[in-house]
């Protein structure tokens, strides 16, 4: 099977190579043809649709000042097609507007560039022609991927991974019978970096940012995406049904077909998964201009907001992950009965014990179901041994004989209703017996105290947080520059047996050290957290940090323990923390901190912080407090 595919690819490559070179050789000599003259005279190559089909953008490195974002010679029929839209137009007219009898194989340009051909015929006032019936693969693919309706799919953050908060987007295309709630039969359309099996190095990260990877479209059955995100990565999925018509979707899929196996440069910040999907939507419906709003970065969560704002969403559907369902059902089991879940998931025979059978049947059903879910969940993430498979079958048999209530996970606040992703803050405070005013900006994204609606509770990711301070002695300085701060204090860490942790890297000052000079500091914590009461996460972490000052020998390593509570009250958050830390250059320090974040509206909030710390053997305590207004934009 694979060999056949490869041979076909080779044939395709070969054909395209030949066609490309032969057409490129000659556009000028055949420019006498009336069609070409007409195309030249009406400047077709400057039209928007042509720009969209070729994915053209302005570029400084191109001699013509314009360049296609497609990085694949197979996509161009003219040799200089990547940065010469006019040559590409002429070559396309030559290659595509030929007699249908001349199309002998599936890989002919007329089978590949179906959108281009249709558009050229329309603009040159030629009668429309169906895609040649020789194009078997085209018809096969269009036959299986439905165009009844389309949804934008946003897998939200996943457990224990604040970094996934940026999210991902893909499209779901539905067959006719979608109204019968059978999304499992739909198809996905996904744009992703093709990292292949290349050996990994630190360069990998830079390559992703700088554009060293190729991005490609892929289209696989949607249920596989549901399994990937919902069952394995444990991400809740949001589906936004869009109001595209069948005709628009058909137009879009024709162009997607042209892009099959075609490589784009992949840039993580802007020309990523979400950007390409917006482009497709813009193409599907002339007049939409979703891509124009994203000039520097395309954060997937922001594209969801853009689509929502454009008014093309007709319906929103929330699909809780396996883990979310487990968490909810686990919470509904009375506290003193919870240990049964672990016992049964370890040994299913416990479910047959006299002691367990004393419980009422509905409770037993609930417990066995969660125990089985846990086994399923764990074994989907690693591998399932024959013993586990057998245990699972025995539990399923029990479940099939018990009355199981249908449990519905309540829908949380949707991601598009979440606060915006950049933050500015202004405030006043007192530290080291000095009053100050502070101004700051955070490039991205969310911390555990910010209004949690639309975000995962107990998880945060902050990038590029700059704070400037001016004190009562008129000293102005850079107070801190946090490059990255990740926080993951999950309320499910105990039941799923995962670790809680945080990590931060940046420049900062410590008033107690070297006269408050600026240091480069990296720190992290690791430990456990769990839901202790409703909406309250308790955590215990081991923590360590290293600070490096400007001189080589000025470095300090501190280690300690942190215990804390994080309570959510509606959108507000309250954090109380106790910390014991050994200090390399002084006696151990004990500190307590209280932080309160009060949202005023979606994009406005107030934050209050208070810290009290004291070194053992030192009488005087160090006290700091601040109040700030936060604006999200």
């Amino acid at each position: 099977m694979q060999i056949i595919i490869k041979v076909r690819y080779l044939a395709l490559l070969f054909t395209l190579f030949c066609t490309a070179s032969s057409y490129a050789a000659e556009p000028v000599s055949s420019s006498n043809s009336p069609l070409l003259q007409k195309a030249i005279a009406s400047n077709l190559h400057l039209e928007k649709v042509w720009t969209q089909l070729l994915h053209l953008q302005k570029s400084n490195r191109s001699p013509t000042g314009i360049e296609s974002q497609v990085d694949d010679a197979r996509y161009f029929l003219a040799r200089d097609g990547k940065n010469n839209p006019r040559a590409e137009l002429l070559a396309s007219i030559d290659a595509l507007l030929i007699n249908v009898e001349d199309v002998i194989a599936d890989d002919h340009p007329r089978c590949r560039f179906v959108s281009r051909e249709a558009w050229l015929r329309e603009r040159l006032n030629l009668p429309a022609e169906a895609v040649p019936e020789q194009c078997i693969s085209y018809y096969e693919w269009r036959g299986i991927v439905g165009t009844h309706s389309m949804s934008l799919v946003f897998p939200a953050s996943y457990l224990n991974s604040p970094s996934s908060m940026f999210g991902h987007t893909l499209l779901r295309l539905d067959p006719e019978n979608i109204d019968e709630s059978s999304e499992w039969l739909s198809w996905s359309l996904n744009f992703a970096a093709d990292t292949g099996s290349e050996n990994f190095s630190a360069g990998y990260a830079f390559k992703g940012i700088a554009g060293g990877y190729a991005g490609k479209f892929s289209s696989i059955p949607y249920f596989k995406k549901l399994q990937e995100y919902g069952a394995i990565e444990n991400r809740d999925i949001w589906e936004y049904k869009l109001d595209f018509t069948e005709a628009e979707l058909s137009r879009m899929l024709d162009h997607v077909w042209e892009l099959r196996d075609i490589q784009f440069d992949y840039y993580f910040f802007r020309q990523n998964c979400s950007y390409r999907l917006l482009e497709l939507m813009d193409y599907a419906r002339p007049g939409l201009s979703l891509t124009e709003q994203f000039i520097v970065t395309t954060i997937p969560a922001d594209t969801v907001k853009a689509v929502d704002k454009a008014g093309i969403v007709t319906d929103t559907h929330y699909r809780p992950s396996l883990g979310t369902g487990i968490q909810m059902r686990y919470q509904s089991i009375p506290r003193k009965l919870k240990p049964w879940v672990t016992r049964i998931s370890n040994d299913d025979e416990v479910a047959l014990s006299a002691e367990f059978l004393e419980l009422d049947i509905a409770t037993r059903a609930k417990i066995i179901r969660v125990a089985n879910d846990l086994i399923t969940y764990r074994s989907r993430r690693t591998s399932r041994s024959p013993e586990t498979a057998k245990k699972r079958l025995r539990l399923l048999k029990m479940i099939s004989k018990l009355p199981i209530e249908e449990s519905v996970v309540p829908t949380p606040v949707a991601p598009e209703k979440a606060h915006d992703t950049r933050t500015a803050n202004i405030g006043i405070g007192r530290a080291n017996k000095t009053d100050y005013a502070q101004l700051g900006i955070r490039w991205s994204y969310h911390d555990v105290l910010d209004r949690n609606y639309g975000y995962l509770k107990g998880a945060g990711i902050a990038l590029g947080d700059l704070q400037l301070r001016r004190d009562e002695n008129d000293v102005s300085q850079l107070q801190s520059l946090e490059l990255v701060k990740l926080q993951s204090y999950s309320d499910r860490a105990l039941i799923f047996n995962t670790l809680s942790w945080d990590l931060s890297v940046g420049l900062t000052r410590d008033d107690n050290r070297l006269d408050g000079r600026l240091s480069a500091k990296a720190g992290g914590s690791i430990g456990k957290s769990t839901q202790v009461f409703n909406n309250t996460i308790g955590y215990g972490l081991l923590t360590g940090s290293m600070a490096q000052y400007s001189r080589l020998k000025e470095n300090f390593v501190d280690v300690g323990v942190r215990l804390g509570l994080l309570r959510y009250i509606g959108g507000a958050a309250f954090q109380l923390e106790f910390k014991l830390e050994t200090r390399q250059d002084e006696s151990p320090r004990v500190s307590g901190a209280a932080d309160f974040n009060l949202p005023l509206a979606k994009n406005h909030g107030l934050r209050f912080s208070y810290t009290h710390s004291q070194n053992t053997g030192v009488d005087e305590a160090v006290i700091a407090g601040s109040a700030q207004y936060r604006f999200y934009f």
Binding site: S161, S163, N372, I399
Partner: protein, 181 residues
Amino acid sequence: MIDHIEPRLVDLTINLKKDSKMKKLLAGAVLLACSSATYADAPGGPNCGWGNMLLEGKTGLLNHMFALTTNGTSGNATFGMTLGTNGCSVEGPLTYGGDSMVWFNGVLDEYSTDVALGHGEALNAVAVMLGVEPADRAHFSQIMHANFDALFPTTETTGQEVLNSMVVVMAEDAKLKKYVG
């Protein structure tokens, strides 16, 4: 087919230890736009029974911390002309067409759970695939649920065998026999 990401992460940490430039760490942390991993189907047992069939994913703290999987696709069969098999051969008459059978194999894990519970999306999707009319779906679910033991006798039962049992069960039911006639 399995795209190994774990070793790459290990390499990253070594590199970070060697050279703790912050920008590298930042770069690692930032690569998250569009983060998602690829998973490959892996057959569990020698006979590809439903009980062992599953997707293999990656776990591990580092993977979670950096989500460095960059949404990678690993090449083959990404522009699906077929549904892609999970390494299990599908022999015998394909009662409902090749693609449908492969699809069915792919959802067996969820389907078995739904049949045990008596409801669920996988169960509903299978009903739609078999052409069961909306009016008969609740009945279909109920009949499947009542016959869990017949459908899933062992963990080695294959998707084809499950489907064969379903056909037998449906043929014996007054309302459902028209769908397998």
